[in-house]
């Protein structure tokens, strides 16, 4: 089975590719470029195309499947109507599958399941990453705010932290928010502090 993965995110594409590599008899092609997409389809002659829902080229791809004579076997939009649950799961995960007409549901289902799991895993990883980045940025802001207070008010580090904390409690804000405001104020005042 020849599977084309169309995704502008190289990282996600490789995560899906990696998942599909375990399936027997699968040859996988990854396309991350918008330009030349149709020419690549002509070359690859895929049995299955996986594309992320956020990809602006989906309409172009559907048009191509509907009218192109370049493909030896016509590609249908979806597996089949009886597999509505599988389609719903893939839409939830953010991936759509186009499959050559006549390919049995039994062969498609495991593949779509893998893609769905990998897409979900990627989304979780993204949100974890965003959270981790946020935490890192918060810690940096707190450190910078402490240094500002130490330099301008001659406080020790524990005293500077205490100052931030009591300000946070007085204004019912988080320490990170108070630190961010202080750092921003200092940037606007152009290092006057």
């Amino acid at each position: 089975m020849r599977i084309a993965i169309v995704d502008e995110s190289e990282m996600r594409a490789s995560i899906i590719e990696d998942g599909l590599a375990d399936l027997p008899d699968c040859e996988i092609f990854v396309i991350t470029q918008r330009l030349g997409l149709m020419a690549r389809m002509d070359e690859i002659q895929p049995d299955v195309v996986l594309i992320d829902l956020g990809n602006p080229s989906r309409d172009v791809l559907e048009e191509y499947f509907a009218v192109s004579r370049a493909l030896a076997k016509p590609i249908a939009m979806f597996v089949d109507e009886s597999d509505d649950d599988a389609i719903a799961a893939s839409i939830d995960a953010g991936v759509s599958a186009y499959v050559v007409d006549g390919l049995s549901t039994g062969r498609i289902r495991p593949l779509v399941d893998v893609a769905v799991r990998r897409f979900n895993a990627f989304s979780r990883m993204q949100s974890d990453l965003a959270e981790a980045r946020g935490q890192l940025a918060e810690r940096e802001n707190i450190d910078r705010a402490k240094r500002l207070l130490m330099n301008s008010k001659g406080l020790s580090e524990p005293e500077a932290y205490k100052e931030l904390r009591s300000q946070a409690m007085r204004s019912s804000k988080r320490i990170a928010e108070v630190a961010e405001a202080l750092v921003m104020a200092q940037e606007i005042l152009g290092g006057a502090a």
């Binding site: 918008r34 330009l35 829902l53 956020g54 990809n55 602006p56 080229s57 989906r58 309409d59 172009v60 559907e62 048009e63 191509y64 509907a66 009218v67 939009m77 979806f78 109507e81 389609i87 719903a88 839409i91 939830d92 759509s96």
Partner: protein
């Protein structure tokens, strides 16, 4: 109690009404909380609508009909209780081609530009290629209608391909396409980048062409009928706000936000005030009713509009007339819901639900169920009319 409706949309200026209904509190006034899902392709807007992520969607009118008829994918019934606006699209061609089609500059005349294009098409070795936003779009049908009426045979003399709106300017620049028929702000983006010139607006092809609609899965419309009727009331208020020049600047700012259209507010301001810059560094010109909204029952889902779209779909899909399918297609537009929602309110309601499209040459007072209604000329550029009662005869009169 406030009810939430989720609406899918593509970042285009004509998604304005539901967005402004939320932002100006018209939705809240009728007890609705609107949430939005912004997507990058019609395929995804449609998938999310069919699989329940969204309750309703800003959708291409012909795509709602194709989905109901099962053209291109398994049939799923959709209903259209509200038209989000008329026209608002333009034809932008490469600078080189513009020099041949409209050498004197300015907005062309549909017939003249078409004649010149036919001359370019005839002898040239390389086939010209035009991009439209979707196979089932009014852009595609208006472009094809114009080309065919000017003696240019789509798919034979000229290629027409699908281009995602955000890439329309890139496609013009790279020479992938020679022209595009797309909504705003994407024509203006191409002009600002100096990669093409606007030569025609679709309002010059059909003065009152139906554009995006609010599409709802038919079962969902029944289930949440009351909420959708209130949404119609809120969107009419938003429409009234949208057409008032005093609000243009503020509305352009709202629509420009990254969570909505995500484009230059100046370009959006031009589109909603019917002004266009046709070429880089050129003057802004005013083309009245470039994007027609609110007035003259513009939001009313005329059954005859659905009939015209169905006829074009059959024409270009090269399928024959089918009475059952044509009735199903026309039943996608739901004037009954629109009437029920606005009955007893200050919006005029026409007496009829269907009319001869392209049949009005001078302002015409029409019978109204409520209020007064005068319709302005709605001509097609070639003077043809479309009578939904004679759909089969109309279809066989068209060149393919």
């Amino acid at each position: 109690m406030t009810e939430t409706l989720t609406i899918g949309f593509l970042p285009l200026v004509d998604a304005a009404l539901p967005i402004l209904a939320k932002e100006h509190g018209f939705a809240e006034e009728v007890g609705l909380n609107l949430e939005f899902l912004r997507d990058m392709s019609w395929a995804t807007v449609l998938d999310r609508l069919l699989y329940g992520h969204a309750d309703a969607a800003h959708l291409l009118a012909p795509l709602a009909i194709a989905t109901t008829l099962g053209i291109g994918r398994p049939a799923r019934p959709l209903s259209v209780p509200f038209v989000l606006g008329l026209n608002g699209n333009a034809i932008t061609v490469s600078n080189d081609l513009a020099g041949k089609l409209q050498p004197e500059g300015g907005l062309g005349n549909a017939e003249e530009v078409g004649k010149r294009l036919a001359k370019v098409v005839e002898p040239s070795g390389r086939r010209l290629c035009f991009g439209v936003v979707h196979r089932h779009s009014s852009h595609n049908y208006m472009l094809r209608y114009w080309l065919a009426a000017c003696g240019i045979r789509p798919d034979r003399d000229i290629d027409i391909v699908t281009v995602a709106p955000p890439y329309a300017a890139d496609a013009l620049e790279s020479g992938e396409v020679d022209g595009i028929c797309v909504g705003e702000p994407w024509n203006s983006v191409s002009v600002e980048r100096g990669v093409g010139r606007i030569v025609l607006t679709t309002a010059q092809i059909w003065r009152r062409g139906v554009e995006k609609v609010l599409a709802v899965p038919t079962a969902k419309l029944e289930e949440k009928r009351d909420a959708f009727e209130r949404l119609i009331v809120a969107m009419r208020r938003a429409g009234e706000h949208f057409v008032d020049p005093a609000n243009w600047e503020a509305n352009a700012e709202i629509l420009a936000r990254p969570e909505y259209v995500g484009a230059d507010p100046a370009l959006i301001h031009h589109a909603i005030s019917d002004r266009l810059r046709l070429q880089q560094g050129g003057e802004l010109i005013h083309y009245p009713d470039f994007m027609f909204q609110f007035r003259e029952a513009a939001n009313f889902p005329w059954v005859s509009q659905a009939g015209w779209l169905y006829a074009q779909m059959m024409r270009w899909e090269r399928r024959g007339f089918d009475r059952e399918a044509s009735e199903k297609a026309m039943a996608v537009f739901r004037p009954d819901i629109y009437r029920a929602a606005l009955s007893g309110r200050d919006s005029p309601l026409p007496g009829a639900s269907s009319k001869v499209e392209g049949g009005i040459a001078a302002p015409l007072g029409v019978s109204a169920q409520q209020g007064r209604l005068v319709l302005s000329p709605d001509k097609f550029f070639d003077g043809k009319t479309f009578d939904p009662e004679k759909l089969e005869a109309y279809l066989s009169s068209l060149d393919q």
